[in-house]
Amino acid sequence: MTLPTRSQPGTPANRSYEAIWRIESARVIAALARRTGDVGLAEDLAQDAFIAALEQWPQSGVPQSPGAWLVTVGKRRWFDTLRRKGTIEGKQADLARQAEVRQQLAGAEFDDVDADVDEEVGDDRLRLIFTACHPVLPREARVALTLRLVAGLTTEEIARAYLVREPTVAQRVVRAKRSLSEARVPFELPPASQLEERLDAVLEVVYLVFNEGYAATAGEQWARPELCLEALRLGRIIAHLLPAEPEVHGLVALMELQASRLHARLGPDGEPVLLADQDRSRWDPLLVRRGLAALERASELANLPGNGRGLGQYGLQAAIAACHARAATLAGTDWARICALYEALAQVAPSPVVELNRAVALSMAYGPEAGLEVVDSLVPDPMLANYYLLPSVRGDLLAKLGRFEEARADLERAASLTRNEREQQLLLDRAARMPPAAGPRN
């Protein structure tokens, strides 16, 4: 499954069609999925329609409403297939299915370029998002499918962003579509009783995409901002579709605030710059403002009477990010509040990684010993056995306490544990800067 091959790749007209695809594809796929009940089929039909567009638009010009045009053409393709199937399977006993096909065909002949691509589009897109992030799919598949169906990325773009080969992504997408179809996953919104859990799955996918961009786990680039921007865009779309869900706004807030630092955390030669060393004047004020506004919305919604649960894991992380955003300097940061927020976060989403972050906040608020105590309690945790940030943080705290040799060993160990080359270099540089052991020590 790649985007249609183009006779003249990169011509201005084709680039403009691709931009239309990017804007319209999710709506088109969603509208077709509502009719066919099958997301995989809907995407194939949408692709077919786009190929038809690439052939016809150069002569006919771009239609007034390109989205509706694509839906109509996709629908016709579907009816053609159904018709053919009807002939082939005509003798089969599946009468109910045949009746259904006949009914669909009858409806098809008359509604021409239909307007319903504009109707209930929100709900359709929401169905599409929930389907792409369906729990029957493995995480990787949810990510690939969401980027492809909802964000309108090509397999080639996804492959480039994730540093994998295009056929790998293509296969992942094909397999995911097959799984959905085999599991007969209906194209519908989750029932209210499951909404929270299913929404968690959606937000998880969005945040996975963001994080892969923000802290690239592999490769020579320290961050891949294009993935952050895709995730942000997805988050903003979902916030529009589910405006009453505090955690959606919490996640958007978190991403806007973190993205505001994207430029500042990249040095002149592409090397990472840690929060403590960032030039805060380079934080993007527009994204900070948007992030704080989204956080405010999340807090208001979370504290509505009846909701009463307070901020969730994303909202709390956003609140922590907001403490940084509001502080003019590292020293001027409200570290005590950050400690409290991490504590709340550990209640909502307990994890050794949260504990590790809390340790950093404690060290900033109350001194390196306070942090080290928590870090040391985490060392035996098997979940953190190969987590490079544990020795990295520990090394830092040890260095602050003047225990340079232990610090060096930890920083070197951290370097050996990360696959990101930029980060590795940063850690080795820090290890090399540790003063040599000199004279007797206590």
Binding site: E226, R233, H263, P268, D279, R282
Partner: protein, 137 residues
């Protein structure tokens, strides 16, 4: 990438009344524009937008050589293009920005849109980046 989308309402004739008219769109145009803004927002591309007061309230500050700045009050009827407002959008390509601009509900000849890419620090040459960094320290 980030783009600013400027709208230049067309003023028919250079009179103050014409300017006023261009800045007071009919209700249906406002409704259409609100829908458009909502579309941008729903697509996750809209970062910010503002409409600007009419240019007869504009003030210009000129910087003649060797003299202090000169403040001039509007209207500036000689100006052909006056900004009516702007959007800031975040998109993947200039083509996507163009596509969004094309969808703006502008009545026949009522306005023009100009797209300008927003400078990122990385768009500046290395020496300028270094100078900016030094100035901030």
């Amino acid at each position: 990438m980030r783009f600013m989308m400027f709208i230049y309402p067309k003023v028919q004739g250079g009179t103050a009344a014409a300017v006023e008219q261009a800045w007071m769109p009919p209700a249906e145009a406002v409704v259409a524009m609100t829908k458009y803004n909502d579309e941008l927002s729903k697509a996750g591309v809209l970062l910010s937008l503002d409409g600007l007061h009419s240019p007869d309230k504009a003030v210009r500050i000129e910087f003649p050589s060797g003299k202090p700045p000169v403040v001039k009050d509007g209207p500036f009827t000689e100006a052909k293009e006056m900004i009516g407002g702007y959007w800031v959008i975040d998109v993947k390509s200039q083509d996507e920005a163009i596509e969004w601009a094309k969808r703006c509900p502008i009545g026949e000849g009522a306005a023009e849109i100009e797209l300008r890419q927003v400078f990122e620090m990385s768009d500046f040459p290395a020496d300028l980046q270094a100078a900016a960094r030094a100035a901030q320290k």
